[in-house]
């Protein structure tokens, strides 16, 4: 199948899911049991957006000044939660600058993917953190789940990680390049980090 057609098909699917998602969101106000299908639908659509963002190839970061704390609070608020969700905390380390420069929409897309992943594995807690590390601002997503290598439900396609990697790499400043890390945290659970120059 040629590239354009693939993109067009995925695009149509994404839009159709958007309509469905809207309807499920409305229904879920009245019927709590619709919450789970709504969350699933939202996460599928998010994946397709991620796929299309990656698929288009060359990614351009439109950098502007953003307050990291506001940004993480919004990321927390926007997370589509499953039933009995873990708590999501936001922590701003001392010394984190009041503003940093990045493409808010792209980084939001990346963090959403990371948070969705954390929601999948977390038992009780997820912590979103911002800190300054040398010339980088680091956003991290930690969950208290079983850590890397654990399998739960469907196998991961690796799309989320690939998307985060590409988005981080689109952020460049005076020879420094954004990047991500994914590892088991010392205190247990999985730790995802996004380093932005």
């Amino acid at each position: 199948m040629d590239d354009k057609l693939t993109a067009a098909v995925v695009h149509d699917m994404k839009n159709a899911l958007g309509v469905l998602e809207g309807q499920l969101a409305t229904l879920s106000h009245t019927y709590p049991e619709i919450g789970a299908p709504y969350a699933l639908c939202a996460s599928l659509r998010q994946k397709l957006i991620g796929f299309l963002t990656l698929y288009k190839g060359h990614m351009v970061a439109r950098v502007s000044d953003v307050c990291p704390e506001d940004f993480l609070l919004e990321a927390r608020d926007l997370a589509v939660l499953p039933q009995d969700p873990p708590s999501i905390e936001v922590e701003i380390s001392p010394g984190t600058p009041l503003i940093w420069f990045f493409d808010e929409r792209l980084i939001q897309l990346a963090l959403e993917a990371a948070i969705q992943n954390a929601l999948h594995f977390a038992k009780e807690r997820i912590v979103l953190k911002a800190r300054k590390e040398g010339d980088f601002l680091v956003f991290s997503v930690w969950d208290d789940g079983p850590g890397l290598g654990a399998e739960k439900g469907a196998l991961s396609t690796g799309l989320g990680t690939e998307l985060c990697r590409a988005i981080a790499a689109a952020h460049v400043r005076s020879g420094l390049k954004g990047h991500i890390t994914l590892e088991n945290a010392g205190e247990g659970g999985a730790l995802f980090e996004m380093w932005l120059p």
Binding site: E21, R62, V63, D65, L78, L98, R173, S174
Partner: protein, 430 residues
């Protein structure tokens, strides 16, 4: 208890009734009930002009009518119709976002990508209203063109080292440029660049300051660098065109503006190209660019009488009075024979009659133009009248109009440059 949003007045512009209702329901969830909704830009304009100031406008990008959301925003901003306290949110589909952002010369306060939830609207509004309140005094000063006040307000924000620091630096730099304090402006843009070296607005602000100081080479280099890193930054083309125009390099000036109009093919871009081409006597380019701007805005609130007047004037100077009459007829159909168009067209017609050697009709038209133009000033009518008088041999009187157009420093290139070159010809001819 009512939420902090409950007092907000909101306007929703979308051609799809279902979409308007959906947003209205989502706003109601946040206790926002003071919501007006319209289906097109024309109705929206009526609301904006007639009602108390809106706090927030949600405008769909794709309005499926003569005027798109982007054109509507450009119109509001260029006509100073958007109150400083109004937050303008452009609603776009995910797929068109990239194209919309890179082709947007006038940026809204934010973009909202469809589909969105009530939670998304809430979190966006929280931040946008927070920002608006923090910047309120500064934005009001800028809107009133009180640039001294704007500098003072920016300084307060800069001193407080708030999260709006970059907004404050940007506005302060712009205000200083307007005040003619170019060195200070360059320093302010420099302090923004010290935080982040690749900010397009700060680099271009520095280039503008250098240009105003006569440091053309440096200004040109920065503008070119900005374009190299972001080819969609059309304001850099404008600066390069101004530098070229001032250096008398017509071909280069036009080339820069043509490139900008390729990147952002808006009516405004073609208008800027057309006006420069006219000033530089490249009448063929001026003609086609004016025609594009007219076609692009036909039947829309964004249509401008000056496009018709200048296209007709271009035809006259290119030796085609018949075409000039045709354009003026179309203009009269769109705008009537009153106001700016009426005043301007009498002067253009006088020149067209002269080209046809119909001196009697030209005289009559000139008298009419004189009667309509009670107060010459820094505007297009005055310049056209000056042109008509000069063409009919009334040199001294014509030059007086040109001087009048220059007296109040309007900063409008189209007026100042045409008047200046008419006056320069006098000196050259003397």
């Amino acid at each position: 208890m009512l939420s902090k949003f409950s007092s907000l007045r909101v306007l929703v512009i979308d051609d799809m009734g279902a979409m308007r209702s959906a947003i209205k329901v989502q706003l109601a969830e946040m206790d926002i009930v003071n919501v007006d909704q319209v289906g097109n830009a024309e109705d929206a304009l009526r609301m904006v002009e007639s009602r108390v100031e809106y706090d927030v406008i949600f405008c769909d990008y794709n309005l499926n009518r003569a005027t798109s959301g982007q054109q509507f925003l450009e119109y509001l901003k260029s006509m100073d119709l958007l109150p400083a306290r109004t937050v303008f949110i452009m609603v776009t589909a995910e797929a068109e976002y990239g194209a919309v952002v890179s082709a947007a010369e006038f940026q809204p306060d934010d973009y909202l990508l469809k589909p969105f939830t009530a939670v998304k609207i809430r979190s966006r509004l929280e931040r946008l209203i927070d920002k608006r309140d923090a910047l309120q005094n500064l934005l009001l000063c800028m809107a009133k063109k009180d640039f001294d006040g704007a500098v003072a307000e920016s300084d307060k924000l800069i001193k407080a080292n708030s999260k709006w620091l970059m907004d404050a630096l940007r506005r302060k730099g712009e205000a200083l440029l307007r005040l003619g304090r170019h060195e200070e402006a360059a320093a302010v843009f420099g302090s923004a660049l010290a935080m982040r070296g690749d900010l397009g607005w700060a680099r271009l602000g520095t280039a503008r300051a250098y240009f105003a100081q006569g440091r053309l080479g440096e200004a040109e280099k920065i503008a070119n660098d900005v374009l190299e890193s972001n080819g969609a930054f059309v304001l850099a083309y404008d600066l390069l065109a101004e530098i070229a125009e001032d250096a008398g390099n017509a071909a280069l000036a036009i080339d820069q503006l043509e490139q900008a109009s390729t990147v952002v093919p808006s009516a405004r871009r073609f208008r800027l190209l057309a006006e420069a081409a006219y000033r530089l006597s490249r009448f063929d380019i001026a003609r086609s660019a004016f025609e594009f701007a007219i076609r692009r805005t036909k039947g829309s609130i964004t249509a401008q009488e000056t496009d018709y007047l200048l296209l007709a004037q271009t035809h006259v100077e290119a030796g085609n009075p018949k075409l000039a009459f045709q354009v003026l007829e179309a203009g009269e159909e769109a705008f009537g024979d009153a106001g700016l168009f009426g005043r301007g067209q009498a002067s253009v017609k006088a020149q067209a009659f002269l080209k046809e050697d119909n001196v009697a009709a030209a005289k009559k038209m000139l008298v009419r133009a004189g009667n309509l133009l009670a107060h010459p000033g820094a505007n297009l009518e005055t310049v056209l009248m000056g042109k008509a008088l000069l063409a009919s041999g009334e040199k001294e009187e014509g030059l007086k109009f040109m001087e009048e157009a220059l007296r109040k420093k309007s900063g409008i290139r189209m007026i100042e440059s045409v008047a200046k070159s008419a006056l320069a010809e006098r000196i050259g001819g003397a």
